[in-house]
Each structure stands twice: as structure tokens, then as C-alpha cells.
């Protein structure tokens, strides 16, 4: 059913794609940085501190998206008995974790001029910290368990428990009184953010998505070569 995902077939594409993705990423990032740091307007309340949004928000979005994808892939790997799904999930995790850390650190930097504090045990911030812990557990599990069956079970368990935290993170601003404002961007309803700020935000999101794709491809290729290295040992 999933023959299209066979590593032997897709390596031809995944091994050549990174250089093109890197080229595209540099272009989109350059335009995005120009928009975010120079061309976009300052906020009437937050002034230039609002520019931190252009790195903070895309990082948070992408880390949440990657964790959701990892969960979906792990569950699919279990249902369809497809090892490659686990391999894809494993290759996505490092960039998801780094984006999670970026969201936490840039959030703290943004918090100081806006709220007057680097850190608060606010529902959104705390749930993002919990997400980082799940990412860390997931990555550590891949390092410490060598037996394939065991690592598949444990990592899937971590993601299934961790995914409960994703809707909590998303809706925490609606469910509790938090320092964070409610979402300014909605897919189904009209967004409250002005287009002059939405455009750079989307550009930076595209650049960050390209970067996570680049890291994913490089990591996936590394994992495939690792498997082939073991194959040569058995010859």
C-alpha cells in the first residue's frame, strides 16, 4: 500500500533535494528578514518589540505542527506496520525540538519589554515547556533503546500522551486567563492582524518551514545511510 514511501525509491529524490531547498530557504529568509526587520510597521502599543513575533510565532506553529505529524506518523507506523513512518517521524523530531526551544527563548525575550518579566507560569508558556519535555523524551528514547520493536512502542507511547498537550497549548488562551492574547490569525474567521504584518509573518513561516524540511531531509538521508551501513556489515 505504501510502496511509494520505500526508502530505496525515494532516496534518489531525498538525496538531491537538500541543495535546492537550501537555496530556496536562503532566498525566502532574506526577503522575510528584510520585511520583518525593516519594511513592516511598528505596533502602536508594543512599538518595535512586536518584531519578535516574526520569529516567535512561526517557531511555535512549526513545533506544534511537527509534534502532531510525529504522532500521526508513529500511530500510522503501528497500524500499517511500516518502519519507514517511524524513520520519517524520527527525522522530523530534531527540528521540532529546536523550534520549540526557539519559541520558548524568543518568548522570554519578548516577555521582558512587554510584560516586564522573562518568565511567567502562564498556561501557554507552561504547555510549550511541557511540549519541549515531550520532544526531549522522544529524542532520548531513540538514543537509549536499541531494540527496534521496543523503541517503536515507547516513542509512540510518548507521542500519544504528548499530543494531549497540543490542543491545550492551542486553546490555553481561550480556556484560561493568560498573559498571552487570544489568537490574531484564524483560518476560518477573519484575522485581526493587519496585512502589513501578516505578510512578513507568513514569509517567515515559509522560511522556517523550508528550514525544517531541509533538516528533515538531511536527517532522513543520514538514517537511511545508517541502515545501509548495517546492511554492509551483514554481507
Amino acid at each position: 500500500m505504501f510502496k511509494i514511501f520505500e526508502p530505496n525509491k525515494i532516496f534518489q529524490i531525498t538525496s538531491k533535494a537538500p541543495k535546492y531547498i537550501l537555496f530556496l530557504f536562503v532566498i525566502v529568509l532574506t526577503v522575510g528578514l528584510t520585511e520583518a526587520l525593516i519594511l513592516s510597521p511598528e505596533d502602536y502599543k508594543q512599538s518595535d518589540a512586536v518584531r519578535i513575533m516574526y520569529v516567535h510565532v512561526p517557531s511555535a506553529w512549526i513545533s506544534l505542527g511537527i509534534f502532531s505529524s510525529i504522532t500521526l506518523l508513529s500511530i500510522s507506523g503501528f497500524i500499517f506496520k511500516n518502519k519507514n513512518f517511524f524513520l520519517i517521524a524520527k527525522s522530523l523530531a530534531p527540528s521540532g525540538f529546536v523550534f520549540n526551544i526557539i519559541a520558548l527563548v524568543t518568548g522570554a525575550i519578548w516577555g521582558k519589554p512587554t510584560w516586564g518579566t522573562w518568565w511567567a507560569w502562564d498556561a501557554r508558556i507552561t504547555s510549550m515547556l511541557i511540549l519541549a519535555l515531550f520532544f526531549a523524551m522522544y529524542l532520548i528514547a531513540w538514543r537509549i533503546y536499541e531494540k527496534e520493536e521496543k523503541v517503536f512502542k515507547i516513542t509512540t507511547f510518548i507521542t500519544v500522551v504528548g499530543i494531549i498537550n497540543v490542543p491545550i497549548t492551542k486553546y490555553s488562551v481561550d480556556w484560561w486567563n493568560t498573559l498571552h492574547q487570544p489568537a490574531s490569525i484564524n483560518i476560518l474567521t477573519k484575522s485581526s492582524i493587519h496585512s502589513s504584518m501578516l505578510f512578513p509573518l507568513l514569509l517567515m513561516t515559509a522560511a522556517f518551514a523550508l528550514f525544517s524540511l531541509l533538516i528533515f531531509l538531511m536527517k532522513y538521508n543520514t538514517e537511511l545511510i545508517k541502515i545501509k551501513n548495517k546492511g554492509l556489515d551483514r554481507l
Binding site: I38, A49, P94, I101, V105, I109, K219, I225, N229
Partner: protein
């Protein structure tokens, strides 16, 4: 304009440290991932080189092995 960019109404230190941290994290992750890739690739080439001709020919039947070797020589 350069003054505006450097000062940012007093917020430049926050804005630049947030962007700086992000870009440094990108660079760090890219370098680590690249190093791991190159290490595994070199290990593969070395192992392949140490195979006897019969085993090397049987390994070469797999297209992915040929791809890895071709990529290693291109890099």
C-alpha cells in the same frame, strides 16, 4: 534608516537577540545535521571500499547503494 534599525525605539537589544538566537540555532542545527550526514557517508564509503569484489558487486545491485556512493564522490 540605519539608526532606526539599530535603535528600534529602544527595543533593538531584545529584537536583535531574539533574531540572533534564532539564526544561531539554525546554524547550529544545520552544522550538527550536516556533520552527522558526512560521518555516516564516509563510514559507508570506507566499508564499501573494504568489501571484496564479489560482495561489492552484490551490494551494488541495490540502487540506493550506488546513489550513496555517487553522492559521496560528488560532495
Amino acid at each position: 534608516m540605519i539608526n532606526e534599525l539599530l535603535f528600534m525605539n529602544g527595543y533593538a537589544v531584545y529584537v536583535m537577540s531574539a533574531f540572533g538566537f534564532t539564526l544561531l540555532s539554525f546554524l547550529g542545527l544545520y552544522m550538527i545535521t550536516k556533520l552527522q550526514f558526512v560521518k555516516e557517508q564516509s563510514k559507508f564509503v570506507a566499508k564499501f571500499g573494504s568489501l571484496n569484489p564479489e560482495k561489492a558487486n552484490s551490494a551494488k545491485i541495490q540502487r540506493i547503494n550506488k546513489e550513496i556512493l555517487a553522492n559521496a564522490t560528488n560532495n
